[in-house]
């Protein structure tokens, strides 16, 4: 998913499961931070990140929408040569959630790489993505994708033609939709937690 072509001085992973406490962090020079968030029930939350120079930030945000919620992710790119990646994968089961993902790179910055990739599957609920790339400089490489859809018909047909009921096939596709975002380590944490619950 992300190609690392640089060694970072410090690599930190922040794992968040079902905890919607607001988060405020800074990514210092030459550092890399990965923030993994999973929510069984997405709630209001705000994440604010400042990025300085030569740093790498990845935010992976996934979960189920069951209640109305507003999620704000703000990244302020202050220095140069940074990479910023924000991925969301949500499944709207009920009600509505809004994701505002705002990444700012001001006039004096150079050579920053910004990617926003926001994807959702809508079941009975809905989602609004507001991807904001506020870049006041041409010295930036920024792109954003936002896709909201249902299930992939070909994938459903494939699984059903192996005998899986429609619901089972959807369950499997939902799980893979979310899991494809995360590393094995984080997935293991998610699984362990599920087993504790059972």
């Amino acid at each position: 998913m992300v190609i690392m072509n640089k060694l970072y001085k410090d690599r930190k992973v922040i794992n968040i499961i079902d905890d919607n406490t607001n988060l405020k962090i800074e990514v210092e020079k030459d550092n890399m931070i990965i923030i993994n968030c999973f929510f069984d029930n997405i709630q209001d939350m705000q994440i604010d990140v400042k990025q300085f120079d030569d740093s790498y930030l990845v935010i992976n945000y996934a979960g189920f929408i069951r209640e109305n919620a507003n999620v704000n992710i703000n990244v302020d790119v202050i220095g140069n040569n940074n990479k910023t990646v924000v991925n969301t994968r949500t499944i709207s089961q009920k009600n509505h959630a809004t994701f505002e993902v705002k990444i700012k790179a001001n006039e004096s910055t150079q050579n920053n790489d910004i990617i926003e990739d926001l994807k959702a599957i809508n079941e009975e609920g809905t989602v609004t993505f507001l991807p904001v790339l506020q870049v006041d400089t041409k010295e930036v490489n920024a792109s954003h994708f936002a896709t909201i859809g249902g299930f992939d018909k070909n994938e459903l047909f494939y699984l059903e033609s192996k005998g899986l009921s429609t619901n089972k096939a959807k369950d499997i596709l939902k799980r893979s939709f979310i899991e494809n975002l995360f590393s094995d380590n984080f997935l293991k944490m998610l699984n362990d937690r599920k087993e504790e619950h059972e």
Binding site: F157, Y158, L159, S161, A169, F177
Partner: protein, 251 residues
């Protein structure tokens, strides 16, 4: 018995099948040939009740049940399986997971994971397919030929009674065709299943002997023969073969 009566179907407002009829008795092997775009893959997907296709008329019967009344997964559970021309890849879902889930759902009984894994490994070995694929995502990073073998792995585990092989031979090298054919022959011998083979090359029927070979054109079968009909097609093409009036034509 599998039987199609008067099937007319369209996709995107084009009639692809027009009063199509066909009957396959238990244990029989039939072949359908026909030029590109004539509707061979469409026929297979309609049998599986793919919602992209509209059936206007006709019946599709399997052991007395009208498949038109059933959903795709119910058709699969009746024992019908399609190995499609271009099996898709699904990221994040492994072959083992799909097969385990399918067995759990369809056979209500608990499956013994040890036996299940052992069988998968045996099948991979027979197919000369790397065992690694068992726990890899479905068809992800698999070559065209490997995908066909992965689908045959699914077949061996799910044990269908009627199998449609849509160009199973495309993408297979000469040795792989022999391996795949002997695998299918063995399965056929063991299970007495019925098979519908779609192909452009009589090569595969050198190894899997069919009872009948049909030519599909203008929405229905225009000629039926045996193995020799496939050879004629290879030699003379569809146009001249259709015009011939020798044996094999029992319409």
């Amino acid at each position: 018995m599998f039987k199609i009566m008067g099937l007319t179907a369209k996709v995107d407002n084009n009639i692809i099948l027009n009063d199509f009829n066909m009957e396959i008795n238990d244990g029989e092997i039939h072949v359908i040939m026909g030029h590109n775009g004539v509707g061979k893959s469409t026929l297979c997907k309609i049998i599986m009740n793919d919602e992209n296709y509209d059936i206007l008329n006709g019946k599709i019967l399997f052991n007395g049940k009208n498949l038109r009344d059933l959903k795709t997964y119910e058709i699969a559970r009746e024992g019908i399986m399609l190995i499609s021309q271009n099996p898709i890849a699904i990221e994040g879902v492994t072959n083992a997971e799909v097969l385990r889930t399918a067995l759990r759902e369809t056979r209500n009984d608990k499956i013994n994971i040890f036996d299940f894994n052992k069988k998968m490994e045996e099948v991979c070995d027979k197919l000369k397919l790397s065992r690694d694929f068992i726990h890899k995502d479905i068809n992800v990073g698999a070559s065209g030929g490997e995908r066909k073998k992965i689908e045959l792995l699914h077949m061996a585990i799910l044990e269908p009674k009627f199998i449609m092989l849509d160009e199973i031979d495309s993408g297979l090298d000469v040795d792989a065709i022999k391996d795949v054919a002997s695998f299918i022959n063995e399965y056929h011998k063991e299970t007495k299943c019925s098979i519908l083979i779609i192909t452009h090359h009589p090569n595969i029927i050198d190894y899997i002997k069919p009872n009948y070979v049909h030519i599909l054109d203008e929405g229905h079968i225009v000629k039926t023969g045996d193995y020799l009909l496939a050879k004629q097609i290879e030699k003379y093409g569809f146009v001249s073969t259709n015009a011939m009036t020798e044996d094999g034509n029992h319409e």
